[in-house]
Each structure stands twice: as C-alpha cells, then as structure tokens.
C-alpha cells in the first residue's frame, strides 16, 4: 500500500476493500482445497468449476454468490481465510442463450447445505429464483447427498420437511426448461431435485441416484448392496427410468444438456428456436418405399425409418434404454423443432407396456408445455398383454397416456406406418387439434386385428363348424379385405394415404403450417382434472 502523503484515508480504505475483494475471490476459487480436489479427480469426477467451464459457452459464466462461505478472522477481525459455500451458481450462455446454472461443490464438505442466510442452490435456492424471475432455463449440476444431521446441532432444532421445499422447483416445470446432470452420488434432496426436471442425465460408472444409499438400506432392510448396483445407471436409467439418459462421461452429459436445450424455448411464453434447414425439404428417400416388410409379423428398424424423414443428424433420443417399445426423440423438420413419438416394432411388436406409457406421457407433456409440435409414427398392436403386464399396471398407465394425449393442445400429425390398434392407438392422436391422420399404404387399424379378433367374436360359429380351424381361417379371409386402409380412406375416416417416399415433404409442410398457430398457444398450460 502506498504511503503517499496526499492519499486520503478514504482512498486507502477503498484500496483495502478492493484487495479484500480480490482475496475473497481467490479463496472461492480454491474450493475445498488441493487435497479435496485431488480426491474428486481420483474418483473420475470434475470439480464444479471445471464442470461449468466444460458445459457453458467459453468465458460466459458470471458467478453470483462467489463470496458466500465461512470466514475465519484474526484477533483484529481481519479475514484470514474463507471456506467457500458448497454450491457455485450464476448466469451463463449456451449457444449464446442465457441460462441459470449451479452445482454442489463436493470438495467442500461433500456438497452438503451450509448455514447461509439464503440458500444458493438446490430446491428453493437462489439459482432457481434466477431462472424463475429472468424466465431462463435452469441447469442443475448435482453432486451431493443433501441434508446432514450435523445441521440439527447448528440450528438447535430439526427442520420440518419442506421448510426448504420444492415449491419453486415445481413452479419452474411449467415455466422454463429444467435440465439436471447427476454427476456424483445423489440421495435425499439433490436426488429429488434431479427428478423434478424436464431432462435428466447421469454418468455411467461415476454417478448414482437413490432415495437412500447403501448404509440406510442396510439399517432398514438388512440388505447389503453397493451403491452402483443400487442406483447406478443400469438401475436408475435402464430399469426404473428415474433418470432419462445415460452419458459415457461428464462431457457427454454436458453435450446432451446442450443438445436438449437447443430444441427448447427460453420459457413457455416464447416459441422454440427455429434454425436454418440443413436438409432439402423435398428429399424423398427411396428406401422408405420398401422399409416395411410385406410379412406383417416381421419387424423393421423404426429408428432408421424416422432418421430417413427428419433433418439429417437432428434427432436426439430421450430415454433410449427405457420403455423401449416406444421411441421418443426431439428432432427437426426443415429446421423447426418437432417431438417424434414412434412405436418400435422391434420390441414386443411395439406393444405399449407400463414403462413405454410413462415415457410417452412425459414426452407428450414436455412437447405440449414448450410448444413443440408432435409427429406420431404409429405401429402399435395395442397394450402389452399377459400377467407381468397386468401386474405392472399397463392398463392404467396406458390409459393415462390416452388421457394425457386427450389434453394435448400442441399441433400434432399422426402418421400410421403399419398397425394402429385399440386403446394404445388412441394415445397416438390429438383430438383437440385438427386430428390429421395420414397413413402409408401398409397401414392397418381397428379396435383389434382381424387375426385373433375372429376367434373371440365368432366363437360360437367356429365351435359349431365341422373343422373349427378352417372355419376361423374362412371368416378371417372374408373380413381381411375390409381391413384395407383404402376402404377407410374412401369413408374419409383417415384423411390421406401418402406415398412413403413423400413423407418428409408432407410432414415439413404441416409443421410449417403449425407455426401459424403455435404463437397463439404460448404461455403456461393448465391441465385440470385427475389423471387416472
């Protein structure tokens, strides 16, 4: 410090404060110290600050709350050191668009909450207020196990659940896109926070998520199980669907979040971003003419079919390893975001089971909320049948899909590729919209297929015949021609049958038309009623 005689005491005081600000900032950047950072790296994980750098546009992170922490002072009340708050938050840009972003700093006391005047992150934290009030997407980088019993001693009492509640997290789900990455072991509050997201992703091998971890499971149930078997991606993503997607690395998780947000508007009062088309609108893929096998019991690759139609390279699949009999992906048609829901004949003929229904419900609500038109590629033989399916509540979950489809207000096109049967077929239409149903010539539909349906409906007649099997075949052959999609088109009960090769130009046209209406539907979607 200069000892110049002309310097006023006030000036010197200002310099001291500037120096203190620099010092406190540098303390924040040290996080939990070199040893803790080393342990974080050895666990195969990045620090929260490295994560922020890897996820957002270079140099765009503006921290808010950088000085929050626990200061140590000497006898003269001069600050000696500051242990930063175990949460780093702020504003940043992704592809030039603003987001609110924050994450636990696991190197500081395992990312547990600390006794600040205002929570920085997690449920009810400041980072949620940033997203809420500025109407921008929220990104949670989750790496913490939530509350610690040590807080009882600090406060002198235990807190009632919900004092730091999820109200704001819940409000956000109707207002701005929320994406969460689970990057460590998440239990309790942070685990719950991850679920209250529109899109969630976790890293295979280095992240786990559960309601409670192995020690609690052992105490409660006597089960001894390691954390990866209890809540690694093969359980939480593939089996339970608690988290949507798995990532091979933290960088992959960040790339997926960036990808997800590229389809989303900043909030529900805006429209999703349209980009310049990279693929000719009139591209007619010849392979589409032959992709559906003639034999109706032969499956085909629906992923490939959809990719032949949407803008090249634009597809981003949500929940690819859960409820696999339906495929849900965000994609673009001539640069305009669309939500694709396609039945997958490779998995149990595309029959809708409870998991597939849950996945489809989430995706329909996601697209409806953010004004992303839906395109159904339909090949569904009905709900999954059998004891296991009934035990899983397929009927109820499936009807919930029908119910949610019945509340859609976003523009929707239904394209029947092959089968469209029964109640599961009803979950592929939006009756609040123009209810446009297109079909390929390979399409067939009804309340149930002629095959199989005959045996039930004509049981007496079949049983009375000298050769029941022959009688069944005879009735089937008699009814079969009526199942031709052209007869339905004659009755204008399906609006158009199209040449499969023309699928892309036709869908592009309807999605472009939909833009005129999308602007009228902006704002929050209220969904009244009681889901079945």
């Amino acid at each position: 410090m200069s000892a110049s005689p002309i310097e006023s005491p006030a000036q010197s005081d200002t310099d001291d404060r500037l120096k203190e600000l620099q010092f406190r900032r540098s303390e924040a950047l040290k996080m939990g110290g070199a040893d803790a950072i080393e342990r974080q790296h050895q666990a195969g994980r990045l620090t929260v600050r490295e994560r922020l750098d890897a996820l957002v546009d270079a140099g765009s992170f503006k921290e808010i709350g950088s000085l929050a922490g626990t200061g140590k002072y000497d006898d003269h009340n001069r600050v000696v050191s500051v242990t930063p708050a175990p949460y780093v938050a702020g504003l940043a840009k992704i592809d030039g668009r603003s987001v609110a972003i924050g994450g636990e700093d696991f190197t500081v006391r395992g990312g547990t909450t600390f006794g600040s005047a205002r929570r920085k992150g997690g449920q009810g934290g400041f980072v949620e207020d940033l997203a809420y009030h500025y109407r921008i997407p929220l990104i949670n980088l989750i790496d913490g196990a939530g509350g610690s019993v040590t807080s009882i001693k600090r406060r002198g009492h235990s807190v009632f659940p919900g004092v730091h509640g999820f109200e704001r997290s819940v409000e956000l789900l109707g207002r701005v896109p929320v994406a969460s990455a689970v990057l460590g072991t998440a239990a309790g509050g942070p685990a719950g926070r991850a679920i209250l997201s529109h899109f969630s992703v976790m890293v295979r091998g280095t992240s786990q998520i559960f309601a409670a971890g192995p020690p609690v499971v052992k105490r409660s149930l006597g089960q001894v199980i390691d954390k990866d078997k209890l809540g690694g991606s093969s359980i939480a993503v593939d089996k339970s669907g608690a988290i949507h997607n798995v990532a091979a690395s933290e960088q992959d998780a960040f790339d997926q979040i960036r990808r997800f947000l590229s389809f989303m508007p900043a909030n529900v009062w805006e429209l999703p971003p349209v980009v310049a088309g990279n693929d000719p609108v009139d591209r007619c893929d010849e392979r589409l003419a032959r992709i559906v096998p003639e034999k109706r019991t032969q499956a085909y690759n629906m992923h490939r079919l959809v990719r032949m139609v949407v803008d090249e390279g634009s597809d981003f699949e949500i929940q690819p390893s859960f409820g696999k009999s339906v495929i849900t992906m965000l994609a673009r048609l001539n640069g305009r975001p669309v939500g694709v829901i396609a039945n997958n004949p490779m998995v149990y003929g595309g029959a809708m089971d409870a998991a597939a229904a849950r996945k489809q419900i989430h995706f329909m609500e996601l697209c409806d909320t953010f004004h992303i038109p839906l395109v159904f590629f339909v090949d569904v033989p009905g709900f999954m049948v059998g004891l296991k399916a009934e035990e899983e509540g397929t009927l109820r979950e499936g009807m919930r899909a029908v119910y949610v489809a019945g509340q859609l207000t976003v523009p929707t096109v239904t394209l029947v590729i092959r089968k469209c049967y029964g109640m599961a077929g009803m979950a592929t239409c939006n009756k609040n919209d123009i209810d446009l149903k297109l079909a390929w010539p390979t399409a067939e539909w009804g309340s149930l297929p002629v095959e199989g349906g005959v045996a039930a409906a004509y049981r007496r007649e079949i049983m009375a015949a000298a050769d029941p099997a022959a009688k069944e075949r005879e009735i089937e052959a008699e009814l079969k021609p009526y199942a031709s999609p052209f007869r339905t088109a004659e009755a204008f009960a399906v609006e158009e049958i199209i040449d499969p090769r023309e699928t892309r130009p036709i869908l592009c046209e309807f999605i472009e038309l939909a833009q005129h209406r999308l602007g009228h539907g902006v704002g929050m979607k209220t969904r009244s009623g009681v889901q079945p």
Binding site: D238, K295, T297, Q298, A299, Y300, N301, R304, K324, N344, P345, M346, V347, Y348, G349, A351
Partner: protein, 73 residues
C-alpha cells in the same frame, strides 16, 4: 477397432442365424432373426465391421439385453 456388442431387444428365441463369425457386415445388415410375441425381429449390425463372436444358436431362448454377438468395427 472398437468392439460393439449387439444385444437382444426382447425376450424370445433365436429363429435363424444368417451370418457367421468372420463375415464382414455393413451397418443395418441382418445378422440373425429372433422370434418373440409371434413377431420376427431382425437383429442388425449397429456399425459396419467384422463379426468376431456369435453367442447364440437357433432355437435357444434369449433374455432382453443379452449379448447376441460381437462386431469389431
């Protein structure tokens, strides 16, 4: 050279094995056909490469997510 494990999308049985170890395959080529719920399910090469292992034979039951064959891409 990356190893790509091709897994079964369904629980069912192996109906036909159409290709053999050592065969060169293109992405989308059918390696075998499964049967499940009265549907024929083609198992396709997810990437171009050489089949280095086929772990099942016709008639055997397979579980969902079971590895059926391996391709070196």
């Amino acid at each position: 050279m990356a190893k790509v494990e091709i897994i079964s999308p369904v629980t069912g049985t192996v109906w036909k094995v159409e290709r053999a170890v050592g065969d060169k395959v293109q992405e989308g080529d059918v390696i075998m056909i499964l049967e499940s719920m009265k549907m024929e399910i083609p198992v396709e090469a997810e990437e171009a490469g050489v089949i280095t292992e086929i772990k099942v034979e016709p008639g055997v039951s397979v579980e969902e997510d079971q590895v059926l064959c391996v391709i070196e891409s």
